[in-house]
């Protein structure tokens, strides 16, 4: 088959891939650019698959960009075909349909794959993962005539699945291995608040347990009928959603010269160890400004930031990744939560400030180290968290106004004059007497 040739080739059509394509087009309007993805849809908002499953959104309204996006930007969208091999010598890729595509610059934005632990009976019909629109479509068909679901994993994906299934009037049980849900994002007190609001919606939460076996139905053993927990308890259900996390999807570079740690290792330009090859998003192990080292932080905004840096560099406009860290906002079951950085500091050199109220649904916490913010957690009134996160990213010395970080109306007005005026682009020095 004849080989196509692209100056810029992107594998992956989600947050990182799209951000990179847009960044390339900011610099290079015409260079041949293609996006390859095994998913058959135009780019969609992955977090919105739960609203699609809940029946709150159509497939069209989860689209990330307008329908004209690819055409308007001169992007060849090669969708529904998997890239199955990369040749870093010849600089081409081979698609599952046999086509070969040559590239000059390559971006690996392949994302993550859901982790599915080995469980007896895990192959039964009715066991799902929940990271793609296709997963959501399958689940949407499956929920039509069932009543009970078990969600394995009380993290972001598990909670979003649980919320959607509860919206579909299924009786939902969340099974979480740790002692609290959202254990990487929340502290114990916050987790209890969230658990309370989830239980209030009729969802059951079981912590400290995992599923050791998936049972069949009495009339049909090939279909899910329940699960057995570590302690032997049985929970009857008609379907199981496995949502314990994602792992970088690095299989395309296995055995290649591209350096892989936990994910594909990139420098501050988002370049891999092979010249002309870049990576971003959930597959990449990129700079984390808080920890001062490379980490895998599989969250959407970081994929976009990394994708933009990669795209600029691919189009020969030098750009340096400012780095990102774990930072999340959740609005599940009617409770607003923002969290970033170190929320559960080990004892020792950290200073923890916290406050609560008004009411028992509001809680705020800021973690400091050497006068600088290294973590934040806001529940309820989350509006001030952006300014706090900004100060954390800047590495600003907040020692002199640390107490005000927790005041209810905290904002730029609470900052020292010079810092505030500098942030607002106002001349520094002219100050009120």
């Amino acid at each position: 088959m004849s080989s196509q040739h692209f100056e810029h080739l992107i594998i992956g059509n989600s947050a990182g891939g799209i951000a990179a394509a847009e960044a390339i087009r900011e610099v290079d309007r015409d260079g041949p650019l293609a996006i390859v993805s095994d998913e058959p849809y135009p780019a969609y908002s992955r977090p919105l698959i739960s609203e699609y499953l809940a029946g709150q959104r159509s497939q069209r309204s989860v689209a990330l960009r307008p329908p004209t996006f690819y055409k308007r930007n001169g992007i060849d969208a090669i969708l529904g075909v998997r890239a199955q091999r990369i040749d870093f010598e010849k600089r081409d890729i081979e698609l599952a349909d046999g086509r070969a595509i040559a590239w000059e610059k390559l971006l690996l934005a392949t994302g993550g794959s859901p982790i599915v632990p080995p469980m007896a009976g895990g192959e039964k019909e009715g066991v799902f993962t929940f990271t793609t629109l296709q997963d959501a479509e399958r689940l949407r068909r499956a929920v039509a005539d069932v009543r009970r679901a078990v969600v394995i994993g009380g993290g972001f994906i598990g909670l979003s699945a649980a919320q959607a299934l509860a919206h579909r009037h299924l009786a939902v049980t969340i099974v979480e291995l740790k002692e609290t849900i959202l254990s990487t994002m929340l502290d114990a007190r916050a987790a209890r608040l969230v658990e309370k609001s989830i239980r209030r919606q009729g969802v059951t939460i079981i912590t400290g347990q995992s599923v050791r076996e998936v049972l069949g139905r009495p009339e049909d053993d090939s279909r899910v009928g329940g699960v057995v927990l570590d302690d032997g308890r049985q929970v009857l259900c008609d379907l199981v959603v496995v949502a314990i996390g994602v792992a970088p999807r690095t299989e395309l570079v296995a055995g290649s010269p591209v350096k892989v740690g936990r994910g594909i290792v990139v420098d501050r330009r988002m370049a891999t160890s092979v010249p002309g090859v870049y990576a971003c998003g959930d597959v990449a192990e990129a700079y984390d400004f808080l920890h001062g080292e490379n980490r895998v932080t599989p969250i959407w905004p970081n994929a976009v930031l990394g994708g933009r840096t990669a795209g600029h560099n691919m189009a020969s406009q030098p750009d340096t990744y400012t780095g990102a860290t774990a930072a999340n906002s959740l609005n599940y079951f009617g409770l607003a939560i923002t969290a970033a950085g170190v929320v559960n500091p080990p004892n020792g050199s950290y200073e923890v400030l916290s406050a609560s109220g008004p009411g028992d649904g509001c809680y705020r916490k800021v973690v400091l180290r050497d006068g600088r913010i290294v973590g934040l957690l806001f529940i309820g009134e989350i509006e001030p968290s952006g300014v706090v996160y900004g100060l954390m990213k800047d590495g600003a010395d907040v020692g002199d106004f640390r107490e005000s970080l927790l005041s209810r109306g905290f904002g730029l007005a609470s900052l020292p004059d010079a810092l505030r005026r500098q942030k607002l682009g106002l001349p520094v020095g002219a100050r009120r007497e």
Binding site: S45, P47, P301, A327, N328, S329, I382, E383, L424, G425
Partner: protein, 148 residues
């Protein structure tokens, strides 16, 4: 591009900017009806913050490289290429509030009733934004920065 800059020295904290912003973003655009009768209530997109006797009226800075747009999970936030204004497509906004965490100015609000964010749009139907036009003290300046 032209932005609204606060002049803290002369802001008395009267919050008339909030009132006129709310009216501008209401259905009736009527000062009396907007807050009293409209449900769900329109929200002001500018907010006057107080720190002791100092007041700061602040709204979206319409960043050239906007962190909120880059953080948006749904594609609802975008930067209008023609005007440079950072805008939200309310139909696409899912109310996940991720942009609120990533906005270093703290100027995006939750519209809890509608389940979407509320932010300054620089009043696309007006030559001068409502907050600036109605500030009794000229504490808000609409400028490209040269007059600061």
């Amino acid at each position: 591009m032209k932005l609204v800059y606060p002049n803290e020295e002369v802001c008395v904290g009267c919050r008339l900017c909030e009132v006129h912003c709310l009216v501008e973003h209401s259905t009736s655009r009527d000062l009396i009806k907007a807050f009293k009768r409209e449900r769900p209530r329109p929200l002001a997109r500018i907010r006057v913050q107080a720190d002791g006797d100092r007041f700061l009226a602040l709204q979206c800075r319409h960043c050239p490289d906007p962190p909120c747009v880059h953080a948006c999970l749904t594609g609802a936030l975008y930067r209008d290429p023609a005007t440079g204004a950072v805008c939200v497509d309310a139909d696409k906004c899912s109310g996940c509030w991720t942009c609120i965490l990533f906005c270093p100015f703290g100027v995006i609000s939750r519209d809890v009733t509608r389940g979407v964010i509320a932010k300054c749009d620089l009043c696309p139907d007006r030559l001068v934004p409502a907050c600036v036009a109605n500030c009794p003290n000229e504490a808000l300046i609409f400028t490209n920065g040269e007059e600061l």
